[in-house]
Amino acid sequence: MELLQGTLDLIVLRALSTMGPQHAYGLAARLEQVAEHRFTLNQGTLYPALVRLEQKGWIKGDWQTTENNREAKYYTITKTGTRALDRQTARWRRLAGLVDKLLLNES
């Protein structure tokens, strides 16, 4: 299953806001787990999304050390990111609701 266009940003923001700071690898693993491995996230999609979000100022990256003493870049959601998440979530709900309604009426 492929992700719908534009939903990856929303998913990443949501994951960071509920789980706290995460590195990219952790985020990927976590998302695959939540989705029960119904989709795999390739790094080619995830990294550009992280760069994009960081450039928008919605998330912020810091180099830290993991519990296994590996270095990794931990991403945190920012205040603007939280506000954006609220907006995006509301938008998604409206959109999803609309699509649902259409599908129901048509069937």
Binding site: H23, A24, Y25, G26, A29, N42, Q43, G44, T45, Y47, P48, V51, R52, E54, Q55, W63, T66, N68, R70, E71, A72, K73
Partner: protein, 881 residues
């Protein structure tokens, strides 16, 4: 902000990215090890899982910065490689553009220097001259426009009455002899009313200009030098202020030097002296120049000047800016040249557009491959555009190099020998100021950019739709119904037709001017221009009658000199001196009007006073009766010669030789001979009725006569010998205004020659470009159709059929282009009317020659690819693809 940062510091972002990838790999390895793999297994598995690290990096790179700017740089690099890969195409395109841009830059450099840049005076656009429009009725046979001569006695009153002019100055040209040195030097001077130099507002380079009180007689012994004469005759020394010089026997004190480029009123002026209001000067006239008062328009001032000067100048007056008056003689021609050179650039653009179009078509596969690999359509167009922009810039740089050469050529072609005494001005005003400066460079750069846009649009327009992956499936030359080279290349056909039409128009214009120039230069001037040297001698003894005869006698005794004489004026000079003429016997004949094309009627012929041997020295031909002889001296019966036009007019009867006429004085003159017509005023002026009188029977009014000697070899080589002879007669004598008749004839047609050569060059370039264009498009079309031609030949088509097919295609385009070009030329060549001599803008001979030549060139250009088409081997052609 971050993006910008990333752009200027890509290294940092790259390191960050590599670090993050490494971290990802490490975390993945850990995970695999936790799941029970060995360290090595985990490392390999992780590497596999993460896939193309480089791919991921690439995607991240796209997101992180101004991709378009990086792309633009990459586009430029790619464009450079593409252009270098096809050197033939690049060379043709760059040369084409360089010709177009270079010619434009060169012509613009003239327009800039002559028309656009203000004269080097303060507020030069407020300086005006007073012009008099003399109607044909009052004293002149044709209407004349000339700068008025203001009586100096009126100057003070005029100044105080006129309110619309803040300053009024007058000047008059004169020559002075600089003596008190090893050699007497003759200098061209301009007498100016003292306030005139300060009115012009150009600060002096050294010292000062004149003070207003130097107008008073007695205080006027001061002189200001031009830069050139300061350098040439005064060694460029700065401490020369206050130094005395002797001019015409009077002592003057040098008070200043004007800067280089200050050429008032003409480039010949070597020094300025004040115009003192002495009683003698008050009876003379000066040429006025004035400055408009603040806020006053040209018309308002002209109205007031007309009222004030009504008594001294009865003809209607107008004011004209000094710059306008200076450039008026060349303005129309400069506009014609600018338009012509613009057309050359358009043709160059069309040509390059065609080349680019053909090349883009040939690259359809390359483009399709790039599209298939994921390049955006806009990205491809931008890439093509980058190539064109680069091409235009390279062409512009080459064009500048060409323009430097062009400006040098212009300066050589435009060079002339201005001679005040012969009323010969420069052929192009301000020629020295012409050059490639910042304005010209900016103009050229702008033009290259514009050019790139114009021809760069063509492939984008022509191939937008074909920019698709489907081109991959197409093989070159898939047959379409019927053989029409341009059915699928309609844009190219259109471009070819317009290119030929424009080249045709330029060719017609250039052809007309060249034809006109050939006609003009092959006019028989009525004298033999070769081997004649002319000069003037300046000496205090020049007015004594024996002096001239002494000089002539010594000149004649020089070895190799076949004839020597003198006259008060040379031919080809716009100078007239008329005299009333009527037959002595019988009733006065009816007054005749001037013959068509001439100015003077037979009853007031132009009069030339010459020495006995002047006619033979000039090579003028006596075609009836006899010339002047030894016995036609003072005290003997007075005799004169008439020219052929006067003889033919019938004014003096059917056989004028022997007729007695009244001319100058109260005693009658006998007509003893007829001289063949001489172009007295210029090669383009029909000869007027004319008489010749021997100087011994009517002394010349000109104290500084013109000598002419006819001698073998290089006439100029004799100048030193002549100078030596003069020294023997009078040590203070100087020789000046030296020129061969060949130089004077050549000089008199320098402007038409310049225009003919320039337009001829432009026409040649245009026709060459059109030929290259036809060749290029046909050659490309034939290559594209190789397979089809092969099929036709396999099915039995003869070589002549194939040849006819290809040639026929181009012939119809060429014919259409020539027809359109002729129509266009008919619409615009009337602007050339005033530049033509001896033919009309619709001269049939020129139009036919030009059309046939262009058709021949076009046929030749299409013959080469057509011949290649017939060489197609059907077997090879069918095996292609």
């Amino acid at each position: 902000m971050r993006r910008l940062f990333n752009l200027v510091q890509p290294g940092r972002a790259e390191r960050e990215l590599a670090r993050e990838m490494a971290s990802h790999l490490a975390l993945l390895e850990d995970d695999y090890q936790r799941r029970g793999m060995t360290a090595d297994e985990a490392r390999f598995a992780a590497r596999r899982a993460i896939g193309g690290i480089e791919q991921a990096k690439e995607q991240q790179r796209d997101a992180r910065s101004f991709r378009w700017l990086e792309d633009a740089w990459r586009d430029a690099q790619h464009a450079w490689r593409m252009l270098r890969r096809s050197p033939g195409f690049t060379a043709v395109a760059v040369v084409t553009l360089a010709l177009g841009i270079g010619a434009n830059a060169a012509i613009f450099s003239i327009v800039n220097a002559v028309l656009l840049r203000p004269l080097p005076y303060a507020d030069a656009d407020r300086l005006v001259r007073i012009i008099e429009n003399v109607p044909a009725a009052s004293g002149s046979t044709v209407p004349t426009r000339r700068v008025i001569g203001l009586p100096l006695s009126d100057l003070t009153a005029f100044r105080s009455r006129v309110k619309t002019l803040s300053h009024v100055g007058v000047y008059v040209g004169s020559t002075v002899m600089l003596t008190g040195r090893a050699e007497t030097i003759r200098l061209e001077a301009t007498r100016v009313s003292p306030a005139l130099l300060s009115m012009l507002g150009t600060p002096p380079l050294v010292g000062r200009t004149f003070e207003p009180e130097e107008e008073a007689p007695g205080r006027d012994a001061v002189v200001v030098l031009s830069y050139a004469s300061w350098q040439r005759h005064f060694g460029g020394a700065r401490d020369l202020l206050g130094q005395s010089v002797t001019l015409d026997g009077r002592t003057y004190s040098i008070v200043g030097v004007m800067p280089r480029g200050f050429e008032f009123p003409d480039p010949q002026t070597q020094l300025w002296i004040p115009y003192a209001l002495t009683p003698a000067a008050l009876r003379s006239r000066g040429l006025p120049i004035a400055r408009l008062a603040d806020g006053v328009s040209l018309q308002t001032a002209a109205a007031e000047v007309n009222v004030i000067l009504r008594r001294s100048a009865p003809s209607p007056l107008e004011l004209e800016s000094v710059q306008e008056q200076l450039v008026a003689p060349v303005r129309a021609a400069l506009i014609v040249l600018t338009v012509a050179v613009g057309v050359v650039l358009l043709i160059a653009c069309v040509n390059v557009a065609n080349l680019v179009l053909a090349r883009t078509a040939a690259r359809r596969r390359e483009i399709a491959v790039r599209l298939a690999l994921g390049a955006g359509r806009g990205r491809i167009v931008r890439q093509l555009f980058a190539e064109n922009a680069l091409l235009a810039l390279v062409g512009g740089v080459a064009g500048i190099a060409l323009a430097f050469g062009g400006v040098r050529l212009l300066k050589i072609l435009g060079a002339s020998l201005p001679r005040r005494d012969l009323m010969l001005g420069v052929s192009i005003p301000r020629l020295d100021e012409i050059g490639i400066d910042a304005t010209v460079l900016a103009f050229t750069f702008g033009m290259s950019v514009l050019t790139g846009i114009v021809f760069g649009l063509a492939p984008a327009l022509g191939h937008w739709r074909s920019l698709s992956i489907t081109a991959l499936r197409e093989s070159a030359g898939s047959p379409v119904s019927g053989f029409n080279l341009f059915r699928r290349h309609r844009l190219q056909g259109l471009l070819i037709v317009s290119e030929i039409a424009m080249a045709m128009m330029l060719f017609v214009a250039g052809g007309l001017l060249m034809h006109s120039f050939v006609t003009l230069s092959s006019v028989d001037p009525g004298f033999d221009r070769s081997s004649v040297l002319t000069f003037q001698v300046f000496s205090p003894r020049a007015r004594t009658p024996r002096f001239e005869d002494d000089v002539v006698a010594r000149l004649q005794s020089l070895p190799g000199v076949r004839a020597a004489g003198y006259a008060e004026m040379l031919p080809l000079v716009r100078f007239r001196s008329g005299v009333g003429l009527r037959p002595a016997a019988g009733l006065p004949p009816s007054q005749l009007p001037p013959a068509p094309g001439t100015r003077l009627p037979p009853q007031s012929p132009d009069t030339r006073i010459v020495s006995r041997d002047f006619l033979s020295a000039m090579g003028m031909r006596v075609i009836g009766g006899r010339g002047f002889g030894e016995n036609d001296r003072a005290g003997q019966p007075t005799v004169l010669l008439i020219n052929r036009t006067l003889a033919r007019s019938g004014y003096l009867g059917q056989n004028p030789i022997g007729t007695m006429v009244y001319a100058a004085g109260s005693t009658p003159w006998q007509v003893i001979g007829i001289v063949d017509d001489v172009r007295q005023y210029g090669l383009d002026q029909e000869p007027d009725p004319q008489i010749f009188i021997d100087v011994r029977q009517l002394p010349s009014g000109n104290p500084n006569v013109y000598y002419a000697i006819r001698a073998g070899g290089d006439p100029m080589a004799r100048v030193a010998t002549i100078r030596g002879i003069l020294r023997q007669i009078d040590p203070s004598a100087t020789i000046d205004n030296v020129a061969t008749m060949e130089q004077l004839v050549s000089n008199s047609i320098s402007r038409p020659r310049l225009y003919a050569v320039l337009l001829g060059i432009f026409a040649g370039v245009a026709v060459t470009l059109a030929a290259v264009g036809i060749y290029g498009v046909l050659a490309y079309a034939v290559t594209q159709r190789t397979r089809e031609i092969g099929i036709r030949m396999a099915l039995g088509a003869e070589r002549s059929n194939v040849m006819g097919l290809v040639m026929g295609q181009s012939a119809s385009l060429v014919a259409l282009g020539i027809a359109l070009g002729l129509a266009g030329a008919a619409a615009v060549t009337r602007y050339l009317d005033t530049m033509l001599f001896g033919l009309t803008p619709r001269d049939p001979a020129t139009l036919i020659t030009v059309s046939l030549t262009l058709a021949a060139v076009a046929t030749l250009a299409s013959y080469v690819p057509a011949r290649r088409a017939t060489k197609v081997d059907p077997l090879v052609a069918l095996r292609q693809d």
